[in-house]
């Protein structure tokens, strides 16, 4: 059987007729051609497929299409603002690029989605050990390339921008936070 599933995707309404058992991951990639979301493991372990479902990070490989009806999904494509011609990357995307927090890029969409949520939820504000907090909140995002250090640097820089550099410094790549750079 197929089911008409209507849900919000990156601020627009999408309707697809799919098996309710189809994974949200496959609906995004195959039906909506949003191929930014990656499959790493298909087992909920790696976090490459992370999207926001009603504002919360989930593994889209473990969500059935039927469960998305009437809900709102944000994928990595939905993080940037601006236009297609002139995209304005989200602060975490800018910092991941500037600081070498992405190498092969398979983990990056999931990390960007989680990190954007982390920034917007204010989870780091006032944290006694922000680096430890970032590592805890990104514990479900496995990266085989970067060794995580530069990812954590990027997320800290995006979530806790220091003064003026928050305005113009994103992307300069020259700022560290005392981590292993």
């Amino acid at each position: 059987m197929s089911l008409l599933v209507t849900f919000g995707v990156n601020g627009q309404i999408a309707s697809v007729e799919v098996s309710p058992w189809k994974r949200l991951l496959d609906v995004l990639r195959e039906d909506l051609h949003l191929t930014g979301t990656k499959e790493g493991c298909g087992e909920g372990e790696c976090g490459a497929c992370t999207v926001l479902l009603d504002g919360v990070p989930v593994n889209s490989c473990l969500v059935a299409a039927g469960q998305c009806d009437g809900r709102a999904v944000t994928t990595v494509e939905g993080l940037a603002r601006g236009s297609a011609a002139e995209p304005l990357l989200h602060a975490v995307q800018r910092e991941l690029v500037a600081r070498g927090g992405a190498q092969c890029g398979i983990c990056t969409p999931g990390i960007a989605v989680c990190a954007a949520h982390l920034c917007e939820s204010g989870a780091l504000v006032g944290a006694s050990d922000p680096r430890a907090k970032v590592r805890e909140l990104l514990a479900g995002n496995i990266c085989r390339c970067t060794g995580y250090q530069l990812v954590v640097d990027a997320v800290i820089a995006a979530a806790l921008p220091d003064g003026e550099s928050a305005e113009d410094g994103a992307g300069d790549g020259g700022r560290g936070d005392g981590g292993a750079r």
Binding site: M1, W21, R23, D26, T50, P57, N59, L62, Q67, A139
Partner: protein, 280 residues
């Protein structure tokens, strides 16, 4: 696949289950949807995710009532859990990773009944009960009678888990929990243990020890509990508890750990719990 139902009340969920006994009951999907493309397509799905009646944590007299659809994230964020059942919150925080905690439910963990289900030793230590519902009515079963063998339970074919009910421990009951795995997140436990130890004037009146990953199902360590009861919460008792435990569990060696290691760690955890109960 012939159908997909999204009941919004427990009554509708029970009716859907009864009408379609061969369909899959789906909650957060963090057990059922692992490798979904390589699994047989279900005959149909009864999707409990949107059933608000099943989700939420409330104080009910001297108990905490957690709807079966309550997620681990709900548990982590609950002030009631933090105040009255902190070891359940501690276990929830170590289940998978944030993405798993956002979807995985307590009912799913109980129904899957894996020997490494992290909440299960906690439910044993807290002496939780389960509220079950079927077209024949409701029944309450003590959690300690629920897991019957390797991933088997006493849930009837037409039943759903409606709620997990945890008695609120009194101030003299010391609670402990520890999961031992390769890392804090995304790791399946090598051993985990939970304890509720009732101490009066330095003497253990009673103790409940729940253990996971040391048997085919989550178990209470009855001999270890007996070794603790009526004894002071000290080194000698802790040693007696560890010895009693060695006599009652036979952990296995598998890809995640070795039998000797599991026994030694389980003993060390109970020793620590007993000594901590004596200190606090």
């Amino acid at each position: 696949m012939t159908g997909y139902l999204r009941p919004t009340s427990l009554a509708d969920a029970v009716a859907a289950r009864a009408a379609h006994p061969d369909w899959l009951v789906l909650a957060g999907g963090t057990d059922l949807m692992v490798n979904a493309p390589h699994r047989p397509v279900p005959a149909g799905i009864v999707d409990l995710w949107g059933c608000a009646e099943l989700r939420g944590i409330a104080r009910d007299g001297e108990t905490l009532r957690l709807g079966a659809g309550t997620t681990w994230l709900d548990v982590v964020q609950s002030a009631l859990v933090a105040a009255h059942a902190p070891i359940l919150g501690a276990a929830a925080r170590e289940i998978g990773a944030p993405q798993i905690q956002a979807r995985g439910t307590i009912g799913g963990n109980v129904a899957t009944s894996s020997p490494v289900g992290d909440s299960l030793p906690v439910l044993l230590a807290l002496d939780a009960t389960l509220g079950l519902a079927s077209p024949r009515g409701r029944r309450v079963v003590p959690y300690r009678d629920f897991a019957t063998g390797y991933r088997t339970t006493s849930l009837d074919a037409d039943e759903l888990i409606a709620a997990v009910v945890v008695p609120v421990p009194d101030a003299a009951t010391r609670l402990s929990w520890r999961k031992v795995g390769t890392r804090a997140a995304q790791s399946i436990s090598k051993v985990m243990a939970a304890a509720a130890i009732h101490v009066e004037d330095g003497v253990i009146a009673w103790a409940r020890f729940g253990l996971g990953a040391v048997a085919a199902r989550p178990i209470r360590a009855a001999a270890a509990e007996a070794a603790a009861a009526g004894r002071p919460a000290d080194e000698a008792t802790a040693r007696a508890v560890a010895d009693a435990l060695a006599g009652e569990i036979r952990p296995i060696t598998d890809v995640r750990s070795a039998a000797d290691y599991r026994l030694e760690v389980a003993q060390a955890l109970l020793v620590r719990f007993v000594l901590n109960a004596g200190r606090s």
